[in-house]
Subunit: 550 residues, 2 copies
Amino acid sequence: MRVPPGVSAGDFAAAIAAFERIVGKDWVFTSDDDLNLYRDAYSPYLNEPEERIASAAVAPTTTEEVQEIVRVANRYKIPIYPISTGRNLGYGGAAPAYSGSVVVDLKRMNRILEVNERHAYALVEPGVSYFDLYNYIQEHKLKVWIDCPDPGWGSPVGNSIDRGGGYTNANFRNHFDSHCGMEVVLPDGELLRTGMGAIPNSQTWQAYKTGCGPWVDGIFSQSNYGVVTKMGFWLMPQPEAYMRCTVRAPRFSDLGPLVDTLSYLENSRITTGFPDLSSPLLSYPPIGQIQLWNENGPPKLSDEHIKLLADVKQGYSAELEAYGVKEGIPYWELWLSFYGPMEVIEASWRATQRHYGKIDGVQFRVVDKLNLPIDPSTAEKYHEPELGVPSLRIFSIGARTPWNPTPSHGHMWFSPIIPRTAEAIIEANRVFSEAARDLGMPLFKTFTLPACFWERSFVFILATPVTEDPATNKRYREGFKKLIEVGGKHGWGEYRTAPAFQKTVMDQYSYNNHALQRFHETLKDAIDPNGIMSPGRYAIWPKSLRGVQS
Amino acid sequence: MRVPPGVSAGDFAAAIAAFERIVGKDWVFTSDDDLNLYRDAYSPYLNEPEERIASAAVAPTTTEEVQEIVRVANRYKIPIYPISTGRNLGYGGAAPAYSGSVVVDLKRMNRILEVNERHAYALVEPGVSYFDLYNYIQEHKLKVWIDCPDPGWGSPVGNSIDRGGGYTNANFRNHFDSHCGMEVVLPDGELLRTGMGAIPNSQTWQAYKTGCGPWVDGIFSQSNYGVVTKMGFWLMPQPEAYMRCTVRAPRFSDLGPLVDTLSYLENSRITTGFPDLSSPLLSYPPIGQIQLWNENGPPKLSDEHIKLLADVKQGYSAELEAYGVKEGIPYWELWLSFYGPMEVIEASWRATQRHYGKIDGVQFRVVDKLNLPIDPSTAEKYHEPELGVPSLRIFSIGARTPWNPTPSHGHMWFSPIIPRTAEAIIEANRVFSEAARDLGMPLFKTFTLPACFWERSFVFILATPVTEDPATNKRYREGFKKLIEVGGKHGWGEYRTAPAFQKTVMDQYSYNNHALQRFHETLKDAIDPNGIMSPGRYAIWPKSLRGVQS
């Protein structure tokens, strides 16, 4: 049996016995076979000594059991690492940030406590997956939509507290922002309800976010200050219709007005669906279509097009641009989604075209126009999450196909936030591609377009592969850290990262001699004096391990 | 010279001398004349011994001076109470929560650091008022709108950290929600930047809210954990057009579908402006029109109407309803505002009418339809904040007029959050009106309609007058506290309150033996061990005063 670092075998055995008394023997796992399931399949340290491995796992089924587990952890100073469904692949998966921690697996806390159609919200436990919530809504014929990430087997609670994003309207795509009300087991075992939930018999726990007094919800995201055991989410009423359109612009320099007008339209709420930048000329598919692209093979390009692509520098080549103009292949294609009554969608699209009319040679196209609801099987023809339907098809990205004979083991997501401008896209491509080339990283090769999960900013979402070769993985890990530092120097920070990179990422948030990090530590010491809760998550270590671990 | 409680005269003199060295003698105030300006003109303890009074005030002009002031406060254990513009009348004004505190008046920190039209955001210091920001935007001819409360002399920073609301689109009306990035002087004098601001040279401080790691912004709202010295806000691009419409429904029972359809339309983002419930039949004007109503005198009602009103119980009377149907006076009138391209506004209004078509006898009316921008002087014909224009006209409410010979001194805002349903409006009216009657409180007299500042919930905004008579004020204060408790028992909590009522309000947030309050105190002790920062604000006291003060 593995033992957490700094814990005696006797204490650990006593803790395991206590966990067994709380949840039953069947739900405490200590064998290697069982614990393998909590390894991060995408670990950048896969099969190396530094791979983060759990010493045990315990799977409670109630909040009270979570409280008891936390109290036992305090008694024996056992590091614990709660996970919801543990599906945040590329960002750490189910493996603990501190090797040897006991994973508290909340998968059995999978109750859908309420889905309220009238007020369009859900209250769920952390073990509920997007599929579970979607299926419940379908079974009960409720006219509300979920907003889910790619893929959909994750947990709304887990994804939200990791601050993930989705694909429907702007206010739902931001999964932390769309939550309303939490229940949290604090590191001392106390039970906290936030917002209006702090009022017993509250009538507005899922209706008004901030309650009264300091609003504490934010500090339970991307942190190690508590175990979230319930969480409310605002849902979108099932829209009447959906329309997906594209705006095509012929020239490289059109990227500026394309992006600036998008900002205006989004900030004005004229377009609110997931906007998706692509480049048919650079053969860069829209994010939402990557999986469909993969299933259908790579795009068919002419020999001339392929030859011209080889000469592209930082996304631009006058010859390629001329070729695109001649062949009618746009440099840029912006995909826009609209939800709502058909008459409003159509008016919004007309206004959108009017605003984009200033781009010389711009072309508009309505790709999909659907009255809703559609049959769930029809959703498969589309990028399902944009229709509020969870899917696992995204896994086709790294899969073995005729044109990809060497599937990756996994990937580490490199995901810096940059300003929402063409200049920033171009500058970040220049900076990162030069750095990636120097580091031998398979990233930013030709030209990379960012994603628009969140309002007001762009985020790159780039998968660095995890391979079977430890030497390659080591080179990629080190390169990945350098890229994070390069981003930091330019004022671009990651929004989320796997435990292996959390110290490097948080080191970039260094204003005033790391004041934010020190503040996080002040909170940590106060809230979790024994340091039992997810030590090291987001580089927040308890006092005893601070400076020792990283 | 007044001296803060628990501080020796010698220490206080030394602290004052230190403050004078930091900001100059001209900006440290200790005379009664000067300190009177920091009294809460609306204090429910006006002229009574319990009225909260500052012992001094100090007005820094830079963040560095704020840091130095905080360090001096720690050295001499001086309670300080930072204010932005101190205009939150009805919620406490400029007076400290703990009598004898030194007010840190940030009015001189009134720099507008940036207004970015392209990305529609502003970065401002706490002394900037809505008028300042509006005027700056006008002078620089920037095509962005502010969202301001009634009245507009307050501070965007102060109003946001008090979690106030405004009158334009839903996502801007929530003033805390629309902020992006803070700079905070912590109680130990350290300087913190939140979100992306923690990256030196950050390119996205006002573009991406949450940064990486725990998102701490929320704990600096309605709290005493720091002094916010800079704050970013997302602005609305100047809309192309504005339309204000009404939906009129004839019968009392129509309130249900009126509200439920509003929820659907708002949650679907079909209508996004400030919705305003009124009752022409009960002679209850829409909130946004109250000030215009006041300027034009009371509504002209027929003798028969006035007589019928006298018999209304809990908002309903069959005779009144019949009278309304006969005379064409609707029971309910919902005012809806739309911003955007005229074609989108008109389509949204058509969809709105379609959804409201199910109410028998419903009537629709377009009240205002404006192409924007309009001349600022034209805005005066409207409720200015709905057009993004700050105003002070709201003060006409309590002013002396021919029909109001006894103006009030001020008022305490009673503002509980209730569910967004007709049932809740009716139930809350019943519960609060019975309680108010028993307590002799001039509230909920006939029937009160809530406001829609925030999505998904309603809030009552009711002014309990502050009079010249201490006995009356005492009765009102005690009644006010009882009303808070009555609300709490029914699961309805206040969203904000004046220091005089903060303990009573926070006592309602009592889930699990006041776990939230105890958590606030844990944070307080960690962040502000000397307890110098705004002791007592939102009932959070430092250890030394806990249980002593309330």
